[in-house]
């Protein structure tokens, strides 16, 4: 395992001002999502009928305004952010493990199995994910576990491809042969040797897939196919706000800006991470 690879990558990452700034902003946003509500006296579900759809201001500590039902936007947005982040992380973990296992097996076993497994991925890659989700919704109706499955389906294909590529090249390396010679079982080899060495590109891709997943979840929630009542994610909040832009644009802008900042910084950081790991990309 290359300790040197990690050191070099970390150094390059630190030297990238955009990536570092993005990371700080992400940390700040996440912190706000969990700690922010403590600063406000308002409750997430509290309906303040005397201040419906009000503009941001100091009125009744509704710093960022209220929505159609008088709910405080500051608290509500942060709650939505928590939901989006939670879904994002869980689904990322699902997609990561799925892709990792699938790819490691395909790459290590090789031969016909690999061929078939890759064909399946090829076919699935061509279809827009939204169709898959819509399909499942038609079949099974709306449910939240379904949501996790379908959102987790974002990104596992590419992850599997990356892992399989690495596994294929590692298969031939000496230390694998040594492990085989010493009688280790296939499963042990895969998990103890192949997986750790694949970690670099996997980390990069995992980081880049988090914003994709959060985006997809928001997209589904926006359409009404995602998070259901009573929970609300940033996508649901934005959907509520989209209908009100003429009268009360803040209902859209607050969660919209939060989501945008989150996605933007995650992407910038992911790009920076990728550049740090892949020396060839630097120009």
């Amino acid at each position: 395992m290359n300790g040197g690879l990690w050191h070099g990558a970390w150094r390059r990452l630190r030297a990238n001002p955009a990536a570092v700034a993005a990371l700080c902003i992400i940390a700040a946003l996440v912190a706000m999502a969990f700690v922010g509500p403590w600063f406000s006296p308002n409750e997430v579900e509290a309906l303040d009928w005397s201040h419906v759809a009000s503009d941001p201001g100091m009125v009744h500590a509704h710093w960022l305004g209220t929505d159609r039902l008088g709910r405080d936007l500051y608290v509500r947005t942060l709650a939505g952010a928590r939901v989006s982040l939670a879904v994002g992380l869980v689904a990322s973990a699902v997609s990561l493990s799925l892709g990792l296992c699938y790819g490691a097996v395909a790459g290590y076993v090789g031969g016909r199995t690999d061929h078939v497994m890759m064909r399946i991925i090829e076919i699935l890659s061509g279809l827009p994910l939204i169709f898959f989700v819509i399909f499942l919704t038609v079949l099974f109706g709306r449910s939240e576990s379904l949501l996790f499955v379908s959102i987790g389906a974002v990104g596992w294909l590419t992850m599997a491809r990356i892992v399989r590529g690495q596994a294929l090249s590692l298969r031939r390396k000496e230390f694998i042969e040594a492990a085989v010679a010493s009688g280790a079982s296939s499963a042990r080899i895969i998990f103890k040797h192949v997986v750790p060495n694949v970690l670099g590109p996997v980390i990069v891709y995992a980081t880049l897939s988090v914003p994709q997943i959060i985006l997809f979840e928001s997209f589904l929630s926006f359409l009404g196919l995602g998070i259901q009542e009573p929970h609300a994610s940033l996508g649901t909040l934005i959907a509520e706000g989209a209908g009100e832009i003429e009268a009360a644009p803040w209902i859209l802008l607050v969660p919209g800006v939060f989501l945008t900042m989150l996605l933007l910084c995650l992407n910038i950081f992911g790009d920076g991470l990728r550049d740090a790991f892949d020396a060839r990309e630097r120009r």
């Binding site: 061509g126 279809l127 827009p128 994910l129 939204i130 169709f131 989700v133 819509i134 399909f135 919704t137 038609v138 079949l139 099974f140 109706g141 709306r142 914003p211 985006l215 928001s218 997209f219 926006f222 359409l223 009404g224 196919l225 996508g235 934005i238 959907a239 706000g241 989209a242 832009i245 003429e246 644009p249 859209l252 802008l253 919209g256 989501l259 945008t260 996605l263 933007l264 995650l266 992407n267 910038i268 790009d271 120009r283």
Partner: protein, 308 residues
Amino acid sequence: MLRYFLKRLAGAIPTLFIIVTLTFFLIRAAPGGPFDQEQTLPPEIMANLQSAYGLDRPMWVQYSRYLWALVHGDFGPSFRYKDFTVTELIGQGFPVTLELGTIALSLALVLGILIGSFAALRSNSAADHAAMALAVAGIAIPSFVVLPMLALLFGIHFRWLPVAGWEAGSIRHLVLPVVALALPPLAYIARLTRGGMLEVLRSHFIRTAIAKGLPLHTVILRHALRPALMPVAGYLAPAVASIMTGSLVVESIAGLPGVGRYLVQGALNRDYTLVLGMVILYSTVLIGMGLLVDLLYAWLDPRIRFER
């Protein structure tokens, strides 16, 4: 060249067939039925409804009847919108979605290639960094955030464009939706073009072209552009998929009478034939796009035409 195309076409038709078949059986095999949402109906009425829609026949009968109808362009009645057949619904909505999507794709291609090429030629300059920063923004920011913000700015604040709505033949109503829809693919295409162009500019044959004393615009347009666009060609099918997905949201926000909302509504209402019809429609478009891309590859790189 013709043989290459026919070979590709022959491969595409079975794919479509498989999709239709799979879709049909999967939907039929699902738990629950299209009438579950209704309040419990008396069994006789239920039976009548089933028979009217042909749901009481054996599966293979339903399947063959469906295929037969498909070949005649008949997607069957919508289970939800009782007065319309799916064909009629698609006929009303598809032209709008098609117009929206085609303009968005063209815009993304033209601007994306221009910006990407420009960034590559001025690589590592301020303009290059600015362009690539905008590209990151385009990819990251969701269309359902961009569109309302654009509507807010140009529709409400400046009052230059209508906020939403649709009039047949009107350009003004399409501007904001098209821009919101085109932004992510535009950003990707700009990045891909820049990368492809930088790669190609280091090639030996570009060195030869420069050594021949050809003016820069000839070197770029005649020698560098086609190979530089290979990655963009590879992205075309995903770009169409992205635009299809984006149109669901954009049509909904902008109130466009396109066909995207049928897909969403169909899912929420569990309207079998509608969803089936939409999936077939979109799959056909995607497969057609795939064929087009294959042709495009052959044009960009003549070596591919000669492959067995």
